[in-house]
């Protein structure tokens, strides 16, 4: 598995801390933040491949809003939605806004990892295409 960077956004501190530890242990560089606002700060400063985003967070920005902002800042950054509420309507809305997939809490890491990989592959492929296009462009004007 390639190395890639993951941002986990969840208001539940215990969950956040543990999942970050477990991802890091699997050589996936992961950062955890507790709110949508913090997540946007991170996205602005660093290159993030995949975001794991809890849909329902108390106070401040909720998951859907955060997702919209992330896509503005880094359109090719992939987002996996997590929901404990089971509200399909919000999940579907998230998918329409460009989320890669959604998962119902509680979720085993073993289920999460393939989704992460898939999301990264998609993002990577997109990156490759962009890079290829840029190279072509360079050749054309040289």
């Amino acid at each position: 598995m390639e190395y890639f960077s993951v941002l986990v956004v969840d208001d539940e501190e215990d969950f956040l801390e543990t999942i970050v530890k477990r991802l890091n242990k699997r050589k996936i560089s992961a950062i955890g933040v507790k709110s949508g606002e913090e997540a946007l700060e991170v996205i602005k400063e660093r290159l993030i491949d995949v975001v794991i985003l809890d849909i329902k967070m108390p106070g401040g920005m909720d998951g859907i809003e955060t997702l919209r902002e992330i896509k503005k800042i880094q359109p090719i950054c992939e987002v996996i939605l997590l929901t404990g509420h089971g509200s399909m309507e919000t999940s579907i809305e998230g998918m329409k806004l460009g989320a890669f997939d959604y998962l119902l809490k509680p979720v085993k890491l073993e289920e999460l990892l393939p989704k992460l990989a898939g999301a990264f592959e998609k993002k990577d492929a997109q990156d490759q295409k962009i890079r290829g296009a840029q190279i072509k462009k360079l050749f054309r004007y040289s």
Partner: protein, 553 residues
């Protein structure tokens, strides 16, 4: 208890309507009858009084004419001429020719001796000097007698006038034919019981009455009761019959003309009118009673139906309200439980990750730890399933409208359950209506609905039994009836079967969410679900799916 309420209401409505409609009808009837009776009686009295006075006048004229003729003859003839019987006969014939009703004619001198006589009796030479009328006619000039027997032993009356000549008076006397006189009086009588006669002041008959009594016999009527004008008197005879007497005095105040009539005869018309009125009123009352009872029954039946519908609607509303509230709560609870579960799962995952490190693998209790963690994960999984079922993910999905053949969907569902049913020796029979249209609905959700109900039916029967599935179509709905011959559901439990977490199965075999999810799906699809059950004989679930024609593509 409800029936008693309706019966009471019906009695009340009928009672009030009847009282309100009867009272005026009867009051109007009675008042009308009394008014008519008064007017009628008044008319009859007036009529009878008029007849009495008119007849009295006629009799008066008759007597006056006769007296005038006699007076004129006495005034225009000499006493001596009158004694010549040839001459007297000529005069007598002339009188009868002009006026009639004279029976005889006699000439009496001042000493009371009858000097000449024309008539059927041999009265010539009789002396009347001692008779009281003789003196009266000498002093007053005219005299009309009461009816009396006289020399001829026949009831009769006479008119006598005084002639005057050279200071000498004489009397011209004539007998009036009682039959002609009687006939004039009788002409006033009418009807079957009507009578007309003359009475003198003492109540003695002066003419022969039609009934009861003879001329010159006494009538039991008190003549002093009659005033100067025509008067009406009512009397009851010894047989109990009521009679009306109308009396009018003649001008000479000696004779009273009486017209009598049976009161009942006069009332015949009135009684007929009254009977007709009573019949009409009775028919009216019967019509009112029938109409009231009929319309009240109709109204009560309508009310009952409306009540029942309202009751059903209320029950449905209560049910859907309850389930909506529970659904909201469930979603909240799910969130609160899923988050801790997520943490637990991550923590156990982390612990497993750590167990893979060398230090831990050397530990004696390594396996104990590992199995404990597995168990925790298993139970987290169990809790997760419950919560996910509770959320009814199928329910959360907006139904997808596709072309659905309900019969086909049922058959597919049955094929899924066939093995399970066969093992338990349960037969599944279908009676599908072949003409069901293809509808726009959600096939997979409908399948879940049928699956839940049929598998519940199989579980309820246990072993050896029958599940019948029938499809029909009505107006705007496709009806699916799923009937089992299991133990049935008690009234108390019927109210709860659609509640989440209600189950009669053992804890590890059912979550109590199946019928709740089923209910939610059907509601989302715009249909309805209900059940009928009898403990001991089985349960029927009735699913109604709206018959929506798919849009043409």
């Amino acid at each position: 208890m409800k029936t008693a309420v309706y019966t009471k209401l019906r009695k009340k409505i009928i009672g009030i309507t009847l009282i309100v409609s009867f009272t005026p009808l009867i009051i109007v009837g009675a008042t009308m009858y009394n008014k008519i009776k008064t007017i009628y009686n008044h008319k009859i009295e007036e009529q009878i009084k008029y007849r009495a006075s008119a007849q009295a006048e006629a009799v008066d004229i008759f007597l006056k004419e006769r007296a005038a003729i006699l007076g004129a003859i006495a005034d225009t003839h000499d006493f001596d001429d009158m004694l010549d019987e040839k001459n007297l006969l000529r005069i007598f014939n002339l009188m009868n020719q002009r006026a009639g009703a004279f029976v005889d004619l006699g000439v009496i001198d001042a000493s009371g001796q009858q000097r000449a006589y024309i008539g059927p009796y041999d009265l010539k030479g009789k002396n009347y000097y001692k008779q009281p009328w003789c003196a009266e006619v000498m002093s007053k000039g005219i005299y009309i007698s009461d009816v009396y027997m006289g020399y001829r032993k026949l009831p009769h009356f006479i008119i006598a006038v005084r002639g005057h000549e050279n200071q000498k008076s004489w009397i011209l006397r004539s007998t009036i034919d009682p039959d002609i006189f009687g006939a004039i009086v009788h002409s006033a009588q009418i009807g079957k019981t009507g009578d007309a006669y003359l009475l003198n002041k003492d109540g003695i008959y002066q003419t022969t009455p039609r009934f009861k009594g003879q001329i010159l016999s006494e009538h039991n009527l008190d003549t002093s009761l009659f005033g100067s004008d025509a008067t009406i008197i009512e009397q009851t005879d010894h047989q109990g019959h009521k009679f009306i007497y109308a009396g009018a005095w003649l001008k000479n105040k000696k004779w009273l003309l009486v017209i009598s009539q049976g009161a009942f005869e006069e009332m015949t018309d009135l009684i007929a009118t009254r009977n007709l009125e009573v019949i009409i009123i009775i028919l009216g009352l019967i019509a009112i009673i029938l109409t009231t009872v009929f319309t009240t029954r109709l109204a009560i039946v309508g009310l009952k139906e409306a009540d029942q519908k309202m009751g059903e609607l209320n029950a449905q509303l209560v049910q859907s309200d309850k389930l909506a509230a529970l659904g909201k709560m469930a979603a909240g609870v799910a969130h609160e439980i899923n988050n801790p579960l997520a943490v637990i799962l991550q923590k156990t995952g982390w612990m497993e990750d750590l167990l893979n490190e060398e230090i831990f693998q050397k530990s004696e209790e390594f396996n104990e730890y590992k199995t404990s963690l597995k168990k925790i994960e298993e139970h987290v999984e169990r809790a997760r399933k419950v919560v996910h079922n509770m959320l009814g993910y199928a329910r959360r999905m907006e139904p997808r409208l596709e072309d659905v053949d309900v019969n086909e969907t049922i058959n597919q569902t049955i094929s899924l359950l066939e093995n399970y049913a066969r093992i338990n020796n349960i037969e599944i029979k279908t009676r599908c209506y072949e003409g069901l249209p293809i509808i726009a609905s959600d096939q997979s959700q409908l399948q879940q609905v049928f699956l839940n109900i049929i598998s519940n039916a199989i579980d309820a029967i246990g072993k050896d039994g029958l599940v019948e599935i029938e499809t029909t179509i009505s107006d705007s709905m496709i009806n699916v009836r799923i009937t089992d011959n299991g133990p049935g559901i008690s009234q108390e439990q019927q109210k709860k079967v659609f509640d989440p977490f209600f189950t009669t199965k053992q804890t590890d075999k059912g979550t109590g969410l199946g019928l709740w999810v089923t209910y939610s799906i059907i509601e989302k699809l715009g249909g309805s679900i209900s059940l009928k059950s009898q403990v001991g004989s089985g349960t029927t679930f009735i699913v109604q799916i709206p018959n929506i024609t798919p849009e043409k593509k």
